[in-house]
């Protein structure tokens, strides 16, 4: 089962045009050797197109792992989605 299929099972209330995750300084990502956010995120929110990181914040499971793996660069502006938005577990 692909990750996208798993995420499709989850219920999300997406806060359109109001991302709760942002890259603070895209330039800094260019210098980041490992780009751990690309791997460590359980929802695959971060992808690299060869030039910059894209953040699919709508898929976020709100665990916070990306913020920790980027701790050294502190380059992810990580907030919770606004109240009522984001992932909503049916089972949990």
């Amino acid at each position: 089962m692909k990750l996208e299929e798993k995420l499709f099972l989850d219920r999300y209330v997406v806060d359109e045009d109001n991302p709760h995750l942002k890259i603070k300084d895209p330039e800094l990502c260019q210098k980041c050797e490992k780009k751990q956010c690309l791997y460590a995120c359980p929802a695959g929110v971060y992808t690299w197109d060869g030039k910059q990181i894209t953040v699919a914040y709508a898929d976020c499971l709100e665990c916070g792992t990306c913020r920790i793996v980027c701790r050294e660069h502190d380059n992810i502006d990580w907030k919770y989605p606004r109240g009522g938005y984001g992932v909503s577990f049916k089972f949990g």
Binding site: K6, V13, L61, R71, G84, S88, F89
Partner: protein, 430 residues
Amino acid sequence: MKERFDVIVVGAGPAGLAAAYTTAKAGLKTIIFERGEFPGSKNMFGGVLFAHSLSEMFPDFWEEAPLERALVEERYWLLSEDSATTFSFKTKSFGQPPYNGFSVLRAKFDRWFAGKAVEAGALLVNETLVEKLIQKDGKTIGVQTGREDGDVYGDVVIVAEGVNSLLTKELGIHEEWRGNEVGVGVKELISLPKETIQERFNLEGNEGIAMRILGTTRGMTGGAFLYTNKASVSIGVACMVEDVSNECVCPNDLIDDLKNHPMVKPLIAGGSTKEYSAHMIPEAGFRSIPELVHDGLMIVGDAAMLTILITGEGANLAVTSGRLAGEAAVKAKENGDFSANGLSSYKEAMDESYVIKDLKQFKDFAGYFHSNRDILNLYPSLLNGIVKQVIATDGLPRSEKIERAKAMLKEKKSYWQLMKEAWHGWRSIR
């Protein structure tokens, strides 16, 4: 909202709800803020709630709470590529009151628990994110929410915001967690017919099993689990964030490794995944616990890093810490003193309780586990290899087989090394 409250609770998980229930029941004006659509909608854990902490608040809670199965067996699996060595303890007595633990689904359970707090008189406000703790002269005096005119003031704020701990970090109470202080857990909820679960896991009626599995994390510090629910299983993996980061592995790949392991696959065959979730886990234990009491502020549950890795405890520590913080708030109200000094009975009660005693007891365990890579890299496969060598009946004399098994061990470890590691392991938990 210009109203004042005695107690403001941030987060409707087990810690926050235990606190809110306690203060509301004592007649304190209590408000709970929850950022999700309803309590539990943002909450995820592996799946086991040990009963004792809740039955102190609600004797016989199992008669009304939405629980999945009463856990009668703890089974430990050490896995190599195609083998499993099992340790297990099972008792029918854990399937009877007062029970030992239950498998639980948080979206149902937390909602029930919140209902109890509301019944006791607490005001629950859903879909509201607390963005900031309001400070005045170094004292917490309220919270700033994401709502319009959303500042709310109170005598004490009980922070139960969970492992991400953004609010207390912003106050400088602790630094951002390091990769070796937290783990990342991923879980799938896989539905299976009730009868199938009972047959596959040898369970009767409402009995359940908790399986803890070592050896499927590609050598990274972590473990896997499988818990039976009524008509589903919760299956997942947790690994230290530092390891996931260094090895560049997606936690989702680890859950797929687990599901495809030849020992695990038949247990979930025919099931269909209904939900995929992820959450961080405080793993560093005692050494990372922040100062629990401040002027007008107490920290409870995951936000205070209260989990014990070795025993798989977390939710029960959250409930107990919440209750004790609630009791401290009641005392502070009686004395009219919500300063750190006035709230200090929370810390004292925690120090006296099993929570801090156990966390202290196991304070070196996570570090031992993390620094000794062989525990997960080598031992599960080595053990399975040796047991296989001894058990296989293949015409070799037993004396020869035992010599071969010894040689397998010695090839990897000298007896001296083994004794040293065992000693350090023992030291880390005593």
